[in-house]
Symmetry: C2
Subunit: 360 residues, 2 copies
């Protein structure tokens, strides 16, 4: 719709870098402005690519979009030479009320035509012998992937630079189009985003298995412990343990209460972590939106938004990059299954089915 | 005993820098070799100068030496322009078995001629309204001081440099005397220390009060919670919460189990910390010795040891520096109340009473 050749992307997280890489690869001249916050959502994240275990009644759009993007991930990762873990997810529960959450998820996934198998205590332990004695029931969910989010960011940066993208803290260059991909901070970059995007604070811990300690699980484990959700995403040398969720504005602090909850709940799920090293405790900001769906569209003639990915920024990176590239090209039939709700009424992209959209 | 003019101090912690400062001020030409480990005991420490609440039956020598050094602290701190906190210590207990520890400490301090007053729940809360409901009894111990250990290290470094001390990671200069003041690492620097000094690992957390949270206590709080000792040392903007204690060699990791215990016990004592920021979690190595007493003496004609200070490195810095200076000067009547047990038999310093030794 705009014949753009120079693109400035504001934001060097997974969305910004994916957009920049796709645009540069397609021939645009791209600059990334990145303030490299230690609280950026994709840097702090756990790296789950998990639309299915993230599914919940009422969030069908999120599930469909996530599943669509998940299909793009193997190619996306291969192009970046970043390994994916395909061991799948175990959703587990401790107290009876937690098990009811699994029942509900299992029934919902069944109704959505997805396989999810309830597991007994014994079956759970056959899959993951290190689960704690409080873990009483579970659900095996195939299909979800995971990625080392920091390895991904490094690879994206390298891919960008290989395609001539300039990445810096400031930009005074002339540009034809600006892409606002600054996660939670996007709200301060355009009036149309002000009341749409909000920071959703999360705390997350990185643990390393010390010599002699039981290794991390093979699967990603998503647990409900006394009503609190917690996840353990295995890494080569340990695991990522997350995540709290607060509506606390841009408060950047890792709180004692948050760490206490994560450690307690994580230890209930995987007791061996008591002997792990606490390598990092970090707080990050997800870019929340009113309906948990991202905002990927024109805000005005020279400004595109690519934000509001909430808990799914990593998962939705490929489909967001495809969608923004289509917008930049003025493509009249952009990729489907992306989100089209606009933050204002300047543009209304057309929606059209294309191959591979059968997941919806 | 040696007419030394050039002194090399190995170790840039509180002992090494104090020795270097005293020696340089006395006219010696001093070099400090410092590897600046993030695990150095005096960097990781909480900053209590607490011989009295540290006292325990059987450790009378440690108490006497500590009390002697505590008397030197006001002048030592004033010369360095470092503020001291003199609010004193509250020793508190939760479970009945923990209260018995206080009974024992109270009786022991009484027998040693020191004042320590038992406090009721009500009296405790009049002093520190933020104490948790599980804290049932306490003991007010006047006299102990505390210092911001990192401000102290900075001030010592500055004082050294003002007196011409060269501080670096390596030294190839000729020297007349070497002072081994490398804390737990001293064991690897001289055969005579090999079986005497051992690392005693400790983990410690630094917390900052977030806006709106209850401020830290005014007193240093030493607590026994379900048999585990924990202390909270107030700082201007928060507190230091410590410390675990392990015989685990030089394992440098902060463990999940250690952090979990510190947070749980700290929260039992001062619930408001749940809303504090977890700023740092660190592991350090105390220089343990068989009898908990430091080794400050000649090891051979050109080598002095100043190590083995265990939990009391900050407290014992002034008296250690005085003692090493006396050794360097060949002073036949060194300061009393320092420790004189030798790691070997090369030298045996004489002991003589001087003013101010009435504490023994």
């Amino acid at each position: 719709m705009v014949s753009a050749s120079r693109v400035t992307v504001v934001g060097g997280g997974v969305i910004g870098l994916s957009v920049a890489w796709f645009a540069a690869r397609a021939g645009f001249s791209v600059t990334v402005v990145d303030h490299a916050s230690p609280h950026g959502g994709s840097r702090v994240a756990g790296g789950m690519l998990a639309p299915i275990t993230e599914a919940w009644p009422g969030d069908e759009d999120v599930l469909a979009l996530g599943v669509e993007s998940l299909r793009l991930w193997p190619r996306f990762a291969a192009d970046l030479d970043v390994p994916l873990s395909a061991a799948g997810t175990l959703a587990v529960a401790t107290a009876p009320a937690d098990a009811e959450v699994l029942d509900k998820l299992c029934a919902y996934l069944g109704a959505m035509g997805r396989s999810a198998a309830r597991l007994t205590r014994r079956e759970l332990r056959a899959l993951e012998p290190g689960l704690g004695p409080l873990v009483r029931s579970g659900l095996s969910v195939p299909g979800d992937l995971s990625v080392d989010n920091r390895a991904l960011l490094t690879a994206l940066r390298k891919a960008c630079e290989a395609h001539g993208v300039h990445i810096g803290r400031r930009s005074t260059v002339d540009t034809d189009v600006t892409v606002i991909a600054a996660g939670a901070w996007s709200r301060d970059l355009h009036p149309a985003l002000r009341d749409v995007i909000r920071p959703v604070k999360g705390e997350i811990l990185r643990l390393a298995a010390r010599p002699g300690a039981l290794p991390p699980p093979r699967h990603t484990i998503r647990a409900h412990v006394s009503g609190r959700p917690v996840y353990l995403v295995p890494r080569a040398d340990g695991l990522v343990l997350g995540a709290t969720q607060y509506e606390a504005g841009f408060d950047p602090h890792v709180t004692v209460g948050g760490v206490r909850d994560l450690l307690r709940d994580g230890e209930a799920v995987w007791p061996a972590i008591a002997e792990y090293a606490l390598v990092e405790a970090a707080a990050g900001f997800r870019a929340g939106s009113p309906d948990n769906m991202p905002v990927v569209d024109w805000l005005e003639p020279a400004v595109i938004a690519a934000t509001g990915h909430h808990r799914n920024g990593l998962l939705l990176a490929p489909i967001t990059a495809h969608r923004v590239l289509a917008l930049l090209r003025g493509d009249p039939t952009p990729e489907p299954a992306t989100d089209h709700h606009s933050a204002n009424d300047h543009r209304q992209a057309k929606e059209a089915p294309v191959e591979g959209s059968g997941e919806r």
